[in-house]
């Protein structure tokens, strides 16, 4: 029993990884040396059926489907602010519901800041943004254990120009699911 449970858990993880990577087929064979012919991966035989997107009981495909709101992951913030704007409430609600339904999924929330000012203060500002997203997700049904909020501060800008519109794109809370970080 125990073995089968472990097997099915790892298959779920594998399914999630494969789907998230946008790849429904079997992973490339591991490199082998010498005359190795024996496949020592005990799960290899089973990966094909569960790896296909048709068997997607958790609806993980929606995370990548541009038509699904779940494919939208970024929440933008105002300058010097960490208040989640009303326009993002429904997006956060959808992700919270998804997390509540899929308790095996974890999420890393990366907060960011624009480049102006102190790097460490911007790191703290990014953290507050990530934390605001985390709190909103928790209120709407996600569990603390599923969520980690971290900050990238001003260190990984999405947009490199020194303009207001560019800075606005760099003040974000990004939601990443298991397999994406």
């Amino acid at each position: 029993m125990k073995t089968r449970l472990a097997l099915s858990l790892s298959l779920v993880t594998l399914t999630a990884l494969l789907t998230l990577a946008g790849c429904g087929s079997q992973p490339a064979a591991p490199e082998q040396d010498g005359a190795g012919v024996e496949d020592r991966n005990p799960y290899a035989v089973s990966t094909t059926p569960v790896g296909s997107t048709s068997a997607d009981p958790y609806g993980l495909a929606a995370l990548k489907d541009p038509k699904s709101p779940l494919s939208k992951r970024s929440i933008l913030f105002d300058y010097d602010s960490y208040v989640v704007r009303d326009e993002y409430k429904s997006l956060i609600e959808q992700h919270a519901r998804f997390l509540a339904k899929n308790t095996q999924m974890k999420m890393l929330i990366q907060g960011t800041a624009d480049e102006r000012g102190s790097r460490e203060y911007n790191l703290a500002l990014g953290q507050k943004r990530a934390e605001a997203v985390k709190k909103a997700l928790q209120l709407l049904g996600a569990q603390e254990a599923q969520l980690e909020s971290v900050s990238l501060g001003e260190e990984k800008p999405a947009c490199m120009d020194q303009t207001e519109s560019c800075w606005a794109q760099n003040r974000r809370g990004d939601m990443l699911y298991s397999g994406e970080f």
Binding site: A124, K128, E148, S149, E155, K156
Partner: protein, 427 residues
Amino acid sequence: MKTHCLRWLAGGLLGCAAFFVAPAQAQLSIEITGAGAQRLPVAIADFSGERGIAQALTSVVRSDLERSGLFQMIDTTGKVMDENTSPNYADWKSRGADALAAGSLSALPDGRYETRFRLHDTQKQTAIGGQALAHTSGQIRATAHRIADNIYEKLTGERGVFSTRIAYVVKSAGRFELQIADADGNAPQAALASREPIISPAWSPDGGKLAYVSFEAKKPVVYVHDLATGRRHVAANFKGSNSAPAWSPDGKKLAVVLTKDGNSQLYVVNVDGSGITRLAQSAGIDTEPQYSPDGEFIYFTSDRGGSPQVYRQPVAGGAAQRVTFDGTYNVTPRLSPDGKRMAFVTRDSGRFRVAVMDLTSRQTQVLTDTAKDESPSFAPNGRMILFATEVGGRGVLAAVSVDGRVKQRLSVQAADVREPAWGPFSK
């Protein structure tokens, strides 16, 4: 994971670094953009001895002193002398020199060299100092820095910082390098190279280690890195973000910022990462801690009053006191080594500038006219403040004297330089 052996010239130590270490290519070049109002005229005669090395040594001594902004070099062309020559004081005075140094470099039987020099006061017409230093041919620059330190101290009454080192981060095309160089930008070495950002390097009080924040784990984690061995360990990696390490003056603890309980808050850990305790508590952001040199206070940035301002709190416990009041953005407090001044970054009409506050009178002076200053760091003698800024869209380092007069710029070709930290005096 190649192994490279590093020779730290200043300390004369031989260390072996085995972690991510590679010799750094690009060197910092220094440009002097402002000098002191009254510079002391000094003559440094060409040191005698093996011509090539003696000249190299003399020129490093001269450029060290000149770069400090406190001295003006007097031409010594045509003067042949060494430490044993009795100078013609009247002649040097007529050339305008208030002080004069002369010396020699000679080969020792064991293959090393000995450099001797003597410093003269032309007004008092007497020798006021001198030194004999044994060194290898690879330690010419280090020897010159020590001579410059000696002359500087004799003439100004304060220790020179020419033998110290600086740490900074160089960003070039998807690569971040934590580099350590001599205070004049020479001999840069990469202690760490990464595809992910590195920020907030902080020197241990003994100069042997750097604490810093690396994003290599897709989130900020605090490491402590031993420079001689290249070995490092995680000092803080809790759930959430870990950042802003600051050494206690005894080198045993690190103040860090953790978010494991929500927002960025101040904690103290032992250098090995054990024994975590909370240092302060607020509903908002507390970050950028720094110990006062006597170890009694922690200065830090907090937005508890609505805008980011500098506060301080007794380490032993007690209420936080607000330190900055002018304007709506005062961050990154850094104390002078004597604890009497505080450098910080202040925002005025969208421009971020380095300012210094006299902690007794609470008088503040803005020292720069740049617009994107960050990360101020005092020289160990407290005279200059090194900081990061931007010139022509590129990150450069700059230094300014605490009176705002002496200004230098340090840049690397085709790369962004940021996050400077001036190391302590070498032993």
